[in-house]
């Protein structure tokens, strides 16, 4: 993974030697991050089909409790991680940003499923937001449709690695004048206002759909309506005989 390991000034081999003798020697960063990453409390935010895989991950077979994350809080004020599982529609997007603002620091976002990352299979729709990363910063993307519960656990482990690499001295949330609340988009006459937040995300210079297909959305128009009265009916299938 691209995250730098949390290299503390403590020598690993010396630490393990002392641990065998029952002496714990560590750095504050390590301890702090260990506490934080081993008890992430997700917020219960299942939007669509991926929510069912999230619930399955919380159940007895793919136990998420062994990672410390079993307590799905209903209120954003008590959660650290927002797992956005499912399609974010334009009607729902202001609520998602509002909930993100209500979470206390340090907070993380994990987008689960293709829909939350970039619109997924529903990307051509008029009510579908092409990825929640247009409005809030995202830490871990988890592709899949839906991703298996094991994939969710893998995503959680990657997030844990990221948390393990953060340092207290450089922590964002302890800085003064920190702006980690994002403006909430509004519902306008044709979609959301604004369409994206340029500080968080900007469209890529080359749109891959335009290159491959020739246009960005694939909803075509038909010019001729069907006329029922002229054409021939299909022969109805006889119902199957009861054996």
């Amino acid at each position: 993974m691209a995250f730098t390991k949390n290299t503390s000034s403590v020598d690993e081999s010396l630490r393990t030697e002392l641990a065998k003798k029952g002496v714990l020697w560590t750095s504050l960063d390590f301890l702090y991050n260990w506490g934080r990453r081993s008890s992430i409390w997700p917020m219960q935010f299942g939007l669509a089909c991926c929510a069912f895989e999230m619930i399955a991950a919380a159940c007895a077979r793919y136990d998420i409790a062994r990672f410390g994350a079993e307590l799905f809080r209903a209120s954003p004020r008590q959660a650290d991680l927002m797992i956005i599982s499912g399609t974010v529609t334009k009607k729902m997007a202001p609520q998602v940003v509002r909930l993100y603002n209500q979470m206390p620091e340090p907070k993380y976002v994990l987008t689960m499923g293709a829909c939350a990352i970039s619109g997924g299979p529903f990307v051509d729709g008029y009510n579908v937001l092409r990825g929640i990363e247009r409005y809030i910063p995202v830490d871990v993307h988890l592709p899949g449709c839906p991703p298996r519960p094991e994939a969710l656990l893998h995503g959680l482990m990657e997030l844990q690695k990221k948390i393990a690499s953060q340092e207290i001295l450089k922590a964002e949330w302890y800085k003064k004048g920190l702006k980690r609340e994002f403006p909430i988009p509004e519902l306008g006459p044709n979609g959301l206002i604004p369409k994206f937040n340029p500080e968080v995300w900007q469209p890529a210079k080359k749109n891959p759909r335009r290159e491959h297909y020739g246009q960005t959305i694939l909803v075509g128009k038909k010019l001729k309506a069907p006329d029922f009265e002229l054409a021939v009916t299909a022969k109805p299938i006889a119902p199957r005989a009861a054996a």
Binding site: E53, C59, R61, A74, R148, A231, A234, I237, P239
Partner: protein, 382 residues
């Protein structure tokens, strides 16, 4: 999120308007309703839809018929196979395609397994809403995982199966698969006994669920309610018996009916329906004939989906999904894409009577009434 919107002063009393926001812990998805309360009694309720409106109908107008099948999985995402069934049935009606016998039996087996999966998940969630935080759900999901394992072996995916095709099914069931299903069918009654022993005569359940959210048969018929909610009110209408689609007319099964139409009846009707589904599965597994699984005429369509041009016309096909009557209305204009495609979603129609059932009840009861109607937002909002 529940935030207080306004406090109104009327002549008689002060009413409080509360918003059950799109994010709330009763995991039915992003459903929102504003409730007007007088103390703890509900005097008005208004549902607001559209938070998961994913433009299913608009996307389908641009895709060839074979490509719409994976999107139908995502309608009722708890049990994806029933939606596949409904869609395949409608297109076969539209184009006059016949399905081979073995494929029909396989379809019935998978549809009934999907029904079992859905009903135990619903019962688990309903008990979750009642306050038994997660324990019955864990047991229900334990059984569900066994069936999902089977789905993965047969269809390749746990949830979004995309298994049925227009004219048959994608892959045959091997002897191993059939043995696996037989094992599940023989173990399931033991689990149901355990569940029933703990829950059916449970005092808390009875006190909280009986005589709550009563729905009369006349209102239900007029409001177009279908599925277990209708049958719990005493109306004997099950599309498997009425239309006799596929090979359901060969199996012997009863339709459980309720008497009062309250939450307890809806809960118990679902448990009885699981038993009936197990009976159908038993019969189907013992009488499944050998044969091919795909109509030879529609094989070319699978290879080149853009060549499939059904004749101009329309068709309305419906199946008995675990939530009610799932109908598909397709209009074809002779091109590979449909002209108009509409899904008649049972969850949306069943919510017509939500306000009526909740008036006069306490706010805690509104949650279990909503849970007993069994909605899934992928279908409601499409």
């Amino acid at each position: 999120m529940t935030n207080i919107v306004e406090i109104k002063n009327t002549d008689l009393a002060q009413t409080l308007e509360i918003n059950f926001g799109p994010q709330h812990p009763s995991t039915h998805g992003v459903f929102r309703m504003t409730v007007q309360l007088e103390g703890e009694k509900i005097c008005g309720l208004r549902p607001i839809f559209g938070y998961l409106h994913r433009n299913h109908e608009q996307i389908a107008e641009n895709l060839p018929y074979a490509a719409i099948m994976p999107y139908t999985d995502r309608l009722d995402y708890v049990n994806a196979l029933s939606n596949n069934f409904g869609y395949a049935l409608t297109i076969e009606k539209l184009a006059g395609i016949e399905v081979p016998e073995r494929a029909e039996y396989i379809r019935v087996i998978m549809a009934e397994l999907a029904r079992v999966v859905n009903h135990i998940a619903v019962i688990g969630f309903m008990l979750n809403d009642l306050g038994a935080f997660f324990t019955p759900l864990l047991y229900a999901f334990r059984e569900r995982e066994r069936i999902l394992n089977l789905f993965e072996e047969i269809t390749g995916s746990r949830l979004m199966n995309n298994y049925f095709r227009v004219g048959g099914v994608k892959r045959d069931l091997t002897g191993e698969n059939l043995a696996g299903i037989q094992k599940i069918v023989s173990r399931f009654p033991a689990f149901l006994e355990e569940f029933e022993a703990l829950l059916t005569k449970n005092e808390i359940l009875c006190m909280r669920c009986q005589n709550i959210g009563v729905l009369s048969a006349k209102t239900a018929t007029n409001a177009g309610i279908t599925g277990p909610v209708l049958r719990a009110s005493g109306v004997n209408y099950d599309i498997r018996k009425v239309d006799g689609y596929s090979v359901y007319n060969r199996f012997d099964f009863k339709i459980p009916l309720g008497e009062k139409g309250d939450v307890y009846d809806r809960f118990y009707v679902r448990i009885l329906e699981i038993r009936e589904s197990l009976k159908i599965l038993d019969q189907a597994l013992s009488t499944i004939p050998p044969g091919e699984i795909m109509n030879k005429k529609s094989l070319p369509m699978l290879k080149m989906p853009r060549n499939f041009k059904p004749p101009v016309g329309e068709a309305y096909g419906r199946v008995e999904s675990p939530k009610g009557e799932l109908g598909f209305y397709v209009v074809s204009d002779g091109t590979p894409q449909p002209w108009r495609y509409h899904v008649r979603a049972p969850s949306l129609i069943n919510l017509t009577v939500l306000e009526e059932m909740c008036l006069g009840q306490k706010i805690a009861d509104a949650i279990i009434i909503l849970g007993s109607i069994d909605i899934v937002l992928g279908e409601t909002d499409r």
